[in-house]
Symmetry: C2
Subunit: 342 residues, 2 copies
C-alpha cells in the first residue's frame, strides 16, 4: 500500500518562527489571535507568515486541541430544491465566518445513523447541522454527549432539548387553505406530505383548521397521503380527478408534489387555473419556472439555512447557551395557478 505523502514544501509554524525570530508558541499565539503578544512581535510574525505563504494545518491544530473550523452538514441528499436552497443559505452564511463545510449524505447509512453520527462527531467537525428527513432521535441519541454543538432544521425533537429552526407550517397551510376558500372553493383536495414528518402533520392540521374555521366539512376522500415527492402528487391528483365529484382546487403539501399535480391536470386536459386551482408549499425556485407559475406558501428557505448557521456559531462561541427554537414566518405567494372558482 503506497502512501504517497505530500510532505513536500509544507510551510510550518516552525518555519514562520525561524523567519520571524520568535518561538513557535508565540507564532501559534499570534495566529490564534491571542492577547498578551506585543504589537511589534505580532506584526513581525504576521508578516513572516504572509511572506512564507503559511497556511495552518487543520489536522494538527485539531489534534492539539484546537478547533477544526469545520462544520458538518447532514442531509438526505441534494436532489431537491428545498434542501439545496437551505444549503445555499448555510453556505452563504458560512462564507462570512471562517468555517468550512463538510457534507454528509445520510442515505448511505440507512439504519446505522448512530455509528455514522458518532464517527462524524468524533471526527473533525466542530458542530453539526442536521437537515435530516425523519426521526432525528436516531441521530441525536448518537451524539457523544449532549454538549456537542448541533442544530436541527425543520424537525422538532421532543426527546432532547435541541436548538431548532423551522417555519410556521401550520399557519402557512392555514393561510393557503383559507385563501382558496375565499376564492370560492369548497372542495379542496389535499396532498399530504410524509406523515412521519411533523412539517407534514402541521400542514395537514393547518388545512383542517382552515376548513373548520370556515365551516366546510372535512372530507376524507379529498385527502391523499403522500410523501413530498412529485410522483405522489401526480398519482394523488390523478386519483382526485377521477372522483365522481372532483375538487376544484388542490393544495399540495410541498411544491415538488404540486408539480406532479400540475402534470396530472395537464394530462387530463384541464386548464389551470380556469378549471382547477393548485397551491403548493415551499416556494422553491422552480415554483416560478413551471407553467403556470405556482401559487405557493413561501418558506424563507435561504434564511432558514442562515439562521441555522447563526445559531450553531452562537453555540460554538458559547457552549453554555441555552437551546432555543426559532420559527420563521411563511407567506402566501399568489401566482398564476390559482383563481376564483369558475
Amino acid at each position: 500500500m503506497d502512501i504517497s505523502r505530500k510532505k513536500n514544501s509544507q510551510v510550518t509554524i516552525l518555519d514562520v518562527a525561524r523567519e520571524s525570530g520568535v518561538s513557535y508558541s508565540t507564532v501559534s499565539r499570534v495566529l490564534n489571535g491571542f492577547d498578551f503578544v506585543k504589537g511589534s512581535t505580532r506584526e513581525k510574525v504576521l508578516e513572516a507568515a504572509e511572506r512564507l505563504g503559511y497556511v495552518a494545518n487543520i489536522q494538527a491544530r485539531s489534534l492539539a486541541g484546537g478547533r477544526t473550523q469545520i462544520i458538518g452538514l447532514l442531509v438526505p441528499g441534494l436532489d431537491n430544491g428545498y434542501i439545496t436552497e437551505i444549503v445555499g443559505g448555510i453556505d452563504q452564511e458560512l462564507a462570512h465566518s471562517d468555517y468550512d463545510l463538510m457534507l454528509y449524505t445520510t442515505h448511505r447509512f440507512q439504519g446505522k445513523e448512530s455509528l455514522y453520527v458518532k464517527t462524524i462527531a468524533n471526527g473533525l467537525v466542530d458542530g453539526l447541522i442536521l437537515l435530516v428527513p425523519h426521526n432525528a432521535q436516531n441521530y441525536l441519541q448518537a451524539l457523544p454527549n449532549q454538549n456537542f454543538p448541533y442544530v436541527l432544521v425543520d424537525q422538532i425533537d421532543n426527546t432532547y432539548n435541541s436548538t431548532t429552526v423551522d417555519a410556521t407550517n401550520w399557519q402557512g397551510a392555514y393561510d393557503a387553505a383559507s385563501y382558496l376558500i375565499k376564492l370560492g372553493h369548497q372542495r379542496i383536495g389535499f396532498i399530504m406530505g410524509h406523515p412521519e414528518l411533523n412539517s407534514a402533520r402541521e400542514r395537514f392540521d393547518g388545512y383542517r383548521a382552515a376548513l373548520q374555521h370556515h365551516r366546510i366539512a372535512y372530507e376524507e376522500s379529498l385527502v391523499i397521503e403522500g410523501d413530498y415527492l412529485t410522483k405522489s402528487g401526480y398519482s394523488g391528483a390523478k386519483h382526485l380527478l377521477s372522483l365522481p365529484q372532483p375538487p376544484t382546487a388542490i393544495f399540495a403539501s410541498n411544491d415538488l408534489s404540486a408539480f406532479g399535480v400540475l402534470d396530472a391536470i395537464h394530462e387530463a386536459g384541464l386548464r389551470i387555473p380556469e378549471d382547477i386551482s393548485v397551491v403548493g408549499f415551499d416556494d422553491i425556485p422552480l415554483a416560478s419556472l413551471v407553467y403556470p407559475k405556482l401559487t405557493t406558501v413561501r418558506q424563507p428557505l435561504v434564511q432558514i439555512g442562515q439562521v441555522a448557521v447563526r445559531l450553531l456559531l452562537e453555540k460554538l462561541e458559547n457552549p453554555e447557551k441555552e437551546a432555543r427554537r426559532v420559527t420563521l414566518a411563511t407567506e402566501l405567494v399568489v401566482r398564476d395557478s390559482s383563481a376564483p372558482r369558475g
Copy 2:
C-alpha cells in the same frame, strides 16, 4: 478564549490495544488492513475494536502521514440543477467507497482562488474534484504540485495535462439543431451559454455545423449571447420574438435558459410547440417538470459525477496513472416542446 474540548470518552487505538492485549502499532496495522498480522491477532483486535466502539481519529491519522479519506469538491454553488445532479452522482459513487466529502463553494473567494486551493490542498483532502465555472487554470496553477490528485469536470484545460470528464457538447448541439432542421425549421434562434466556457463554445459550433451541413445560411441576428442563466434565456427570447421575422424554433444552450425562453414565449401569447419549438441542453430533472415538457439534449450528469469520482480514486490508488479525458455521450430527448414547423 474558551476551548471546550470534547476529549470525553474518545476511544483510542491504545484502548483497543489494551483490551486486546497487543501493542498499539499492531492495532494500527490491523485497522489498516496490513498483511503480516497473524489471523488470530487480527480477530482479537477487530473484535475488541468493535466491542469498544472504536472509530479512528482522522486528524491524527492524517497528521501521521496516512490518508484522510476525504475528497474535496469545488463548486461555484448549489443553486442549479446541473450542478446538483453531478454532485448527486459524485455522492452516489462516493457512498461505495469510504471517502467523505468536503464541499467548497468558490463564490466566496473571488479572485483569491489560488490561496483558496492552496489551503484546501495543503489541508485535509486527499484529492480534489473541480467543478468550477471558468478559468480552471486559476485553480490549477495553485495546486502545490501537479501530483496532487484532482479531476476536472466539464472544463478543458489546455495548460496542464489534467484528467477530465465531459460530454459530447458539439455532437449534442449538432444533433439538436439537425433535429429541428429536419422538422422543417429554417430559422432557428440560438441562445448561447457563457462564451468563456468551452462547453458553450462547443455547443455553438455544433449548432453552426448543423446549419452548414444542411445548407442553411448562418444568420447572426438569430444568435443571442447568454450566460446559461434563466434570465438571459428570457430576455434573449424576447428579443428574438421581436424580430421582424422571428425564428420558428429556439435552441437554448442549456435547460435553465430554455426555461426562460418558455417563459418569454408564454408571455407573448404564443403556443409551444404549435407556434414555436424549443429545445434545451442538459436534461436536468426540471426539464420534464415544466410545461410543456422540454425537448432537450441529455447529458448524463449523474454519470459524469460518478466517472469523476472513479477517475479520482484511480489516481489516488495509483498516482503514476496517466491523466486522461473521458467524454460521455449526449442524447437527444424529444418531449413536448418541439414539433414540425407549423
